[in-house]
């Protein structure tokens, strides 16, 4: 008869069985850990989804009441924003955000794309190693610093230009340089790293065989870049532009100090409020309907961003189809 081992007070089992039971209970403990971890990890996994749902929910819940009270037409298309008098029309802000972003794109995309071409195609190695870190640094600079430099370096330039252009105009409200034009310049510099990095990646991803075919036909390097490589990279470049648009529309701190703070219709030398700067400027002292209206602006901004995200996904998907072999 085999030796027995006392398992617990009254239960004795054979030694061999004891070993098996010990193994099984460790296995059971291990299985418990496994199951627990599986659940924990699953929860982690859906945190992202839960967050998006929560954010959407709260933006709607916080923003809708004001829009309902003010009336959606009055809110979206009203052209006067004067909190004290209870006027909450955000059309000037919507238009300002759109034109400001457009201006940033017009300035930033050509410069960014050409710089990407420089890095990916035409730069000698030494220059490339000098420029690339500069771009990386630009990408990491906090937006408040852009704001600070905008106030100190960009504003005076437009102050000077404003004085020059409007010196004989008695109707112009002088902004001292804090206007839409300054904001556009600051925004364009902010989106440069995004445009440059994504375009560079897209250009580098164009297969070498297209370049070879182009050279074989007698095209120069520049011709090859602009007639073959860039068109082949266009969906990647487009996604970079859309990302840049997303950044520009959501930017607040960088332009707080240079956009001015009056809710005028957008014009280059007008003091303007963006959707974003409007919220930041008035949040701390707002209350009641005013505060709710700011959340309403937040909701409008949120909707813009979602639309831009959808456009981005569509572009990326069609890009994958286009190059599929």
């Amino acid at each position: 008869m085999e030796d027995t081992v006392k398992l617990t007070g009254t239960v004795s089992v054979k030694k061999s069985e004891a070993a098996l039971i010990k193994k099984t209970s460790r296995a059971v403990r291990k299985n418990a850990t496994e199951t627990v971890m599986k659940i924990v990890l699953f929860i982690c996994g859906i945190t992202g989804v839960a967050s998006v749902i929560l954010i959407t929910l709260y933006m709607i819940l916080s923003g809708a009441p004001a829009i309902a009270k003010i009336g959606i037409i009055n809110f979206l298309f009203g052209d006067t924003w004067y909190a004290k008098k209870g006027e909450f029309g955000i059309l000037p802000m919507i238009l300002t955000s759109i034109t400001g972003t457009t201006g940033a794109i017009i300035i930033g995309v050509p410069m960014g794309l050409l710089t990407a071409v420089f890095l990916a195609e035409t730069a000698p190695k030494s220059l490339r190693n000098a420029v690339k870190p500069a771009i990386e640094l630009l990408a990491g600079i906090p937006s408040v610093i852009y704001g600070l430099l905008g106030a100190v370096l960009v504003k005076p330039v437009f102050y000077y230009l404003e004085e020059l252009i409007y010196k004989d105009d008695p109707t112009h409200k002088f902004t001292g340089g804090a206007n839409l034009a300054s904001a556009m310049v600051v925004l364009s510099i902010m989106i440069l790293p995004t445009i440059i990095n994504i375009s560079e990646t897209a250009i580098k991803a164009v297969p070498e065989e297209f370049r070879e075919a182009s050279y074989g036909l007698g095209a120069t390097h520049i011709q090859t870049i602009f007639k073959v490589v860039i068109p082949a990279a266009k969906s990647g470049i487009a996604s970079g532009v859309v990302l840049g648009v997303g950044r520009a529309i959501g930017e607040a701190m960088a332009i707080m100090l240079v956009a001015g703070n009056s809710a005028n219709m957008p014009a280059l030398f007008n003091s303007v409020k963006f959707l974003t700067t409007g919220v930041v400027a008035e949040f701390s002292y707002s209350s009641g309907l005013h505060r709710q209206a700011l959340f309403g602006i937040g909701l409008v901004l949120f909707v813009f961003i979602i639309i831009i995200n959808i456009i981005l996904n569509v572009i990326l998907k069609s890009g994958r189809k286009g190059t599929a072999q």
Partner: protein
């Protein structure tokens, strides 16, 4: 001289080459100008006192950012404590447990969306959500929780990348000798991915340090030094408001005039921090890619 040697002068080639060079030059010049200007004006208001004391106005006006430095550290630590486990956990779930299904597509879409939401919206969200949920007013905790949502996508993506580089043979080897899934992940996969996770952490620190809009609505602008009378005070500080370096910079810049130079000094400190983080991130990434 014949057909072959007649060199065609293409004007468009020359113009485009010039524009390409010009763009690169302007971009680099902008960066150089930023750095030079910040250093130059930042040094004006810089002093040992500036970095080692906090601002106060009684009994005399003192400009110092120590309070903000401490606040920034608090926010970095708390944000990482929350976001890294969840982010790594989500990455593990996506790569090791979940099969390619509707759910994973939704999760990926949600992560992409989170990455695209601007910080001001996070700020608005944080200001109502964490107030509603935890009754948190302006507080460091509120700011950290908001920021952890912001950096979640970065951590998930980078960790996913790291996990994917672990060769299948490692997994098969472990499973083959009877290791259970979580055990294998904990002992084989995660150690391999430390570099990648570290890279994502460093990148996230960079983002946290640079963040301002989201914190303005959640963590507030307070800049005084903490008053630690007991051990638990270290923790309760998180319940109080705290302005970070970026927020303080904005305060100085907004007030302008004589305080402008302190804005630049704060900017200089931030710039150095960001550059150091960049260097560390690149080192970590290089190590990561060597695997």
């Amino acid at each position: 001289m014949n057909e072959l040697t007649r060199k065609r002068i293409r004007i468009s080639d020359i113009v485009l080459k010039a524009l390409i060079l010009l763009s690169a030059v302007i971009t680099t010049a902008v960066v150089a100008a930023i750095i030079i200007y910040i250093v130059k004006r930042g040094l004006e208001g810089m002093s040992l006192n500036f970095i080692t004391t906090a601002a106060f106005s009684y009994p005399y006006e003192n400009y110092g950012i120590l309070g903000n430095i401490i606040n920034t550290l608090y926010i970095i630590i708390i944000t990482l404590l929350v976001a890294v486990p969840i982010g790594v956990g989500a990455a593990i779930y996506l790569t090791e447990y979940a099969k390619r299904s509707r759910l994973t597509t939704i999760i990926e879409f949600a992560t992409e969306t989170l990455a695209g939401i601007p910080s001001i919206i996070y700020g608005l969200f944080g200001s109502v959500f964490f107030y509603n949920l935890f009754r948190l007013q302006y507080s460091i905790l509120s700011g950290s929780l908001t920021l952890s949502l912001m950096i979640l996508p970065t951590i998930i993506r980078t960790t996913e990348e790291a996990i994917k580089t672990v060769p299948i043979s490692y997994r098969e080897g472990a499973m083959g000798i009877g290791a259970t899934k979580w055990y294998m992940i904990r002992t084989v996969i995660l150690p391999c991915c430390i570099d990648g996770i570290l890279t994502s952490v460093i990148l996230s620190i960079g983002r946290i340090v640079g963040e301002s809009a989201a914190l303005l609505f959640t963590a507030g602008i307070a800049a005084e030094l903490p008053n630690f009378k007991s051990f638990t005070d270290i923790f309760t500080k998180a319940g109080g408001a705290g302005g970070t370096l970026t927020v303080q910079l904005y305060q100085y810049a907004q007030r302008g005039g004589g305080e402008m130079k302190y804005a630049f000094s704060t900017a200089l400190v931030l710039l150095i921090v960001v550059m150091v983080i960049n260097v560390f991130a690149k080192l970590a990434a290089r190590k990561f890619r060597k695997v």
